[in-house]
């Protein structure tokens, strides 16, 4: 296949990774009050770990090294202990009337969300410019 848009493979992979990061942030925000997760314990905050992948080189005579793309290596649980909140009327309260709530701070998640959306935007700008470069180059032939 011809590679007509420069650098599009890395950018596409990065867009995918940022999308997954956004998914994880939204999951954290959605579960800010979850006292009973899948394992019966309070929900634990998750975060993504990025890693770079060496892409298989398409043509051996290409200049430079093989392009590196990015992907999500794993989604890790944050090991912070839950916050104990006094709320005796809560169904999940213990004998002392304390409820274990997930230690998720909304401002922190918002900052993560802004970072993810800005990174997504930056990669979109790369796509847009790559397209503009290709179209401008093609317009050499027009008269």
């Amino acid at each position: 296949m011809i590679n007509i848009l420069p650098g599009i493979d890395s950018t596409s992979a990065a867009l995918n990774a940022e999308r997954i990061r956004m998914d994880v942030v939204s999951e954290n925000i959605a579960n800010v009050n979850t006292t009973r997760g899948l394992d019966g314990k309070p929900y634990q905050r998750e975060q993504v770990v990025f890693e770079s992948v060496l892409q298989a080189q398409q043509n051996s005579d290409a200049l430079g090294s093989a392009p590196q793309t990015v992907q999500i290596a794993r989604i890790e649980k944050d090991q912070r202990p839950p916050i104990m909140v006094y709320n005796p009327s809560h169904p999940d309260a213990n004998a002392q009337g304390m409820v274990a709530m997930p230690d998720i701070s909304i401002p922190e998640e918002m900052v993560d969300m802004i970072a993810a959306s800005r990174a997504f935007e930056a990669n979109l700008a790369v796509v847009k410019d790559a397209r503009a470069m290709a179209m401008e180059t093609l317009s050499i032939g027009k008269h």
């Binding site: 296949m1 007509i4 848009l5 599009i8 596409s12 999308r19 290709a134 093609l138 032939g141």
Partner: protein
């Protein structure tokens, strides 16, 4: 198959680019056969030299390019279908493959324009 008849592949039903009538004329298509173009470029006086060359002629290159563009169109269609039918295709993948198809189609149109220009230039030549 020569250069111009491989360009005829461009007139797939979903593409709107039309092909001018002169292209239908086999004699005209023969007028700038790739073997002649090669011998013109290389300045080789013996046409047998180009016929013994096995694979990478200009017509193969052009045919590969046209089928590449066609593949990109098909991939874009598949991505959009996957997105709309709720498969695991994200929005940016679909849009990027559409853009790739668009840009490579524009590239093919430019190549066609150049070929037609050079053909018309030849036809205008005084003998």
């Amino acid at each position: 198959m020569d250069a111009l008849s491989s360009l005829k592949l461009m007139t797939m039903p979903q593409m709107t680019a039309g092909v001018n009538n002169p292209l239908q004329d086999a004699a005209v298509a023969q007028a700038i056969s790739p073997a002649e173009m090669q011998s013109l470029e290389a300045g080789a006086s013996t046409p047998s030299a180009s016929s013994t060359q096995p694979v990478y002629s200009f017509q193969n290159l052009l045919g590969d390019f046209v089928s590449d563009v066609s593949n990109k169109q098909a991939a874009a269609g598949e991505a959009v279908n996957g997105l709309l039918s709720g498969k695991n295709v994200s929005l940016h993948q679909a849009v990027i493959s559409m853009e790739e198809a668009n840009v490579s189609f524009q590239m093919m149109v430019q190549v066609r324009n150049k070929l037609l220009d050079s053909y018309q230039e030849l036809m205008r030549m005084q003998v």
